[in-house]
Structure formats: C-alpha cells, structure tokens
Symmetry: C2
Subunit: 337 residues, 2 copies
C-alpha cells in the first residue's frame, strides 16, 4: 500500500499502519500491506472473479454521510456484483482519494466501517493507495471472489420460458435518496429513516449468490434500476421479458408511498441503487429456489417471465399491471396505454 | 464494465462499447466488458500479483497533460510495481472519474493511449467503471501480473553485503516537474522537453522485472524517491545502506543541471516519480546482472551496498560523495557534514 501527501493527517505511512494494515491481517499474500503488491491465487478448480466500482462524494453518496457507512457502501456495491455472478468474496483493494482538509476521525470511522464488513463477509484488505485530491472524497474498490472454473453466472443465459426473480425489496434506496433530497415531503420520519438507511447501506445477498450457481440461467445485480438491469440481461441473452408491477416486492414504507402516489412506481422500477440480485431460472427450478430462500432467510420473489424477442427495441421489457394490462413509461411514470 | 452519468458525452454504454470494449479483445474472461465482472486465473504453478494505484489531476499529472500520456502514465505506475515484484503483466481494470464537461475527444485520446501501451506490454483491459465527478479527472488502475508461486520479489530480502542497483536514470521526472513549474529558468528547451517527457511518461523496465526473480534479494519501484524507497527496502529487511551519489546514473540534461547547481542532487535523490527498479543482489550475481542488462538493452547501475544496521534511525541510509565522504541532507539539499 502506498500513500501520497495528505495534510492534516498523521504521516501517510503512519495512517496506513494505524488504520489499514490491521485490515489485512489473516491474508498472508497481503504481506501486512508492507510490500508493493499482493499475491492471490484461487483455490484449485476455481476461477477468480474480479470487479471494480468507484463511488464519488456528491454523486454516489453525500459528503456528510457517516464515514463508516460510506466505506461499507463502497465495499458492498462491489460485493453485490460478485454475489450476482455466483462468487464467494475473498479480498479487496482500495484506492482512497481524500481532500486535504479531511480529519483523522473520518479516516478512523471509515476504517471501522471496513472492519465491520470484513467480519460480516469474511474478506480482507490486500492492497491499496491513499492520495490527496482537490475534489470530493473518491473511493475505488476492486473486489476478488471465487467461483468454480467456468461457472460464473453470466448475463447472457436467459431463455424464453425462464422465470424472473429478484431478491429483497425494490425501490427503497431510490425512495431514500428522494427523501434525503426532501422530495417526499409527506413521508413520516420512521419511513424516511428506513428508506434513507437503505440508500446509505445496501445489503446485497452475498451468501445467496454462490448458491445460485447451477440454478440461475442468468444474473445481474440491480444498480442501474430494475428495468435497466433486466434490459441488460435480455439484450445479452437475445430475449424479452414481461414483468408484473404488482409482483415487484416492496417494503412497507415503499408500499404506502405508492398507495398515495402511483407515479412513484417509476422511481421504484427505474431508480436503481438496490444492490439486490435479479436472476432468471428455468420453470423446473421453482421448488429449489423456494427451499433456498427458506434456508438462507433471504426473500426471493418471482416477478415475471422471459419471453422470446420480436426484434423491436421498444418491446424488450413489458411492464404489466395487476390485471395483466401493459403499462407505458411516460414522463409521469408508468401509466396505462 | 458499468458507467454512471457523464454529460456532454455519448451515452455511457455507447462510450464503453466505442472506446473501452475494444481494449478487452483477446482476453476471453473479460466477456467483451459486456458482463458485470471478469474472470482471471493464473497459469498452473503461478501466483497472481495484484496492485492498484490511482492518479489525480492536479496532484499526479497536470490537467492539460495530453490524455494519451495520462492514460499511459496511469497504467505504467502500476506496471512499474509489477515489474519490481518480478511479475509478468497480464491485465488491468480501470476506474475513470471524469468531470461533467469532459469532451469525447479527451476520452478517445485517453483510450488510444491505453491501446498503445496494451500493445507494448501485452496486456488487456478486463473491467472497470466510468463515473462523473465534480472534482478533477481521477484514474484508478488495478493491474494483474503473474509470477511463479511464492517467488514474488519482496522488499524484505536485502542482506548486508548485497549490492544495490538501479535501472535507467534517476531524477529526470522530478527535474521535469520542476521545469513544468518554471523552477529551472536557465534550462535549454531541448533539455526541458526531455525531462518533462520523462515526467509525463515513465518507462518502467517491464521486461526486466520477471528476469530478476532468483537474482534480486529485494526489489522496489522508485516512486517516492530513490532515498525513500531504498529506506523502505532497508526497513523491511532490517539493514542499512551506503550509496555513492556520483554512481547514481543521470541523463545528460540532469548531469548539466547538477553541474550548475549541486543542490539539485536533493531533487534527483528524493524527488520521486522515477518508476525505475531499485533492487539488491548478492555479490556473486554481478556477472549475471551485466549479461541481463546487455541482453535486454536495459541500463543497470550499481550505486552502493547494503550494510548491517546499527539501530540508529538517522543512519539507515548514508549518501557518500565521490571521495567516500558522507553527505548530509539539509534544507539546501545534500551537503557535506
């Protein structure tokens, strides 16, 4: 791990040894962050699955968000991808770009957040870089996971007739961001707190992901929004999809917002930042999926079906209402034709 | 590869498919950057060596530096570490944080720079993320290399009696940065151009690094400065070092600057950004090192010797002049005691 010139903090190497080196403990190939690089090797018969995602203050999080939650979000948006690909997370590297006026307490809380999630997910920090920036706090994470050779769950395996499933509840984070931006004035404080918490700290189903290998035909994590990510899967798989808006799993706060303002369905389906898994599976897999959901205590909901694609761009994804009538995405949200 | 909201550019996915996806061609595990993660597996009997380093506009490069050189610098500062660790580079991931007013031409030139270095070093882009930032251009690279299992060259293997070697010439980049900042007013334009070029585009000895496995006892890339990085090796190895300032290899422009201003030795020895390799090797290895330098056409120079450490902090690194008298680092640079 190396560090470059941040004022207002203890010496850069001191910073690393105090806050980051302890996070590498237990991973021999990290060499205690005291060398220039790390060594990693997948177990025999396994592939390494690698992913990087960066988050930027003012774009992906708000600069006064609690630093421990910022750290955990930076990590989890990457673990979310590993989970969707069926990989067991093992390690990560971190590039931390900090404004010159950052306080040591911020770094301490940030490192504490990393430590919490390391314990929760069984991973280690194995390398990184700290730099100063004249811009906002910026955090790049590269995550390493493992999957059996050739078994990473791809986007492109969905087939007509497959069921479409999502984990958890959808739309909470996007509604939470709207609440943070005071765009949901009628919202009661408890609901606002719940939704904001879901925006600040995603909970990707990390234990579920590896269990979907051999069960899911295609998978993606929902970050751009349910519709956009389902479209990615359909495009890669050369198929189309019908989903039922009333089958999309909602939290109680989201449900009451939708009851008052049906137009909020647009935010739910397209807002993104869910960090849940969307996957497809053959019709015969339903029983196993129910068992898995029960075993792991993860909510998994069927929301629609993969169909064959006619070739017309605007018919890739069809959203149906409770009566099976298609809805149209207009400037006011999803409405009836 | 994923992308998040940059205005003034073609659609984000279009940006990736136009400029970045082609850079993944030839690496099957990158899935054409059309999936959420990549797959990489070291060859049998090999370890993956992983490294990440970020560079930030206004800190590590100047915002009007040519974008192709910025790209290549971002890549090379990572390849430099892999080389120093004895690893053959294979692939990299890229997080690119761009201001909203960035032009497509900048991205095109940036990608062209990556393509050039991919061809030069035989590597591929296997994943990444593009994001908008309210701050300066910020680039995080994670590089993957390979080395025989357990053979990564560490910092901590230097032993008293080993010779200390450096590749290339030292100090050019730091003098180039000084020239860019108009701190070397008497410098002739040709020399300035040479030194600035060395600052903007480091040339780490990527082919040499893997050949040092089994020959070097310790190794590091020179990024913080010759003295600082030698100190890292000595601290990790629990040894000390004597170097001869007159043996430190200099380019002709650096030599003439030093002839006029001996105080510039401080910039040369401590300025950093060299991205050359500093390594130690047993006295018996001298012949093989000479042969290797000739075979690869890489300049390798012995600059001193590893000594045993007395335990006194200020005696870790001793810089000697041409007569073998110790120099002292004062506020004016290296001077006689």
């Amino acid at each position: 791990m190396s560090a470059g010139g941040i004022q207002g903090l203890p010496g850069e190497f001191e910073l690393i040894s105090r806050y980051f080196a302890p996070l590498s403990k237990g991973f021999p190939g990290a060499f205690g962050l005291r060398d220039d690089a790390a060594v990693i090797r997948p177990a025999s018969g396994r592939d390494l699955v690698v992913k990087t995602d960066a988050i930027v203050g003012g774009v992906h999080f708000l600069s006064d968000d609690p630093p421990d939650l910022v750290a955990r979000k930076a990590l989890r948006v990457n673990l979310s991808d590993l989970a969707a690909k069926g990989a067991v997370p093992r390690a990560y590297m971190l590039d931390l770009m900090l404004p010159r006026d950052i306080q040591e307490a911020w770094v301490a809380a940030f490192a504490r957040g990393l430590a919490e999630d390391q314990a929760e997910f069984g991973i280690h920090l194995i390398g990184g870089d700290t730099d100063s920036t004249p811009g906002p706090i910026s955090i790049a994470i590269m995550a390493f996971g493992e999957v059996d050779i050739g078994r990473m769950i791809r986007r492109d395996g969905a087939r007509a007739g497959d069921k479409i499933y999502v984990t958890g509840t959808i739309g909470d984070a996007a509604l939470g961001l709207a609440a943070l931006k005071a765009k949901l004035p009628g919202l009661n404080p408890a609901s606002a707190q719940f939704l904001i918490g879901r925006y600040r700290l995603p909970s990707p189903p990390v234990r579920l992901g590896p269990r979907l290998v051999g069960l899911a035909t295609a998978s993606i994590d929902i970050s751009d929004g349910l519709i956009a990510d389902l479209r990615h899967v359909c495009e890669a798989s050369a198929v189309a999809a019908d989903i039922r808006s009333d089958h999309v799993p909602l939290s109680a706060p989201a449900r009451s917002i939708l009851a008052e303002d049906p137009g909020a369905l647009r935010t739910v389906l397209s807002g993104g930042d869910d960090y849940q898994i969307l996957f497809t599976a053959g019709p015969a897999a339903g029983g196993k999926i129910t068992d898995l959901a029960l075993e792991l205590g993860v909510s998994i909901t069927a929301i629609g079906e993969v169909t064959s694609w006619s070739g017309q761009r605007d018919q890739r994804i069809t959203v149906l209402d409770a009566k099976g009538h298609p809805l149209m995405l207009g400037s006011e949200g999803w409405t009836h034709f």
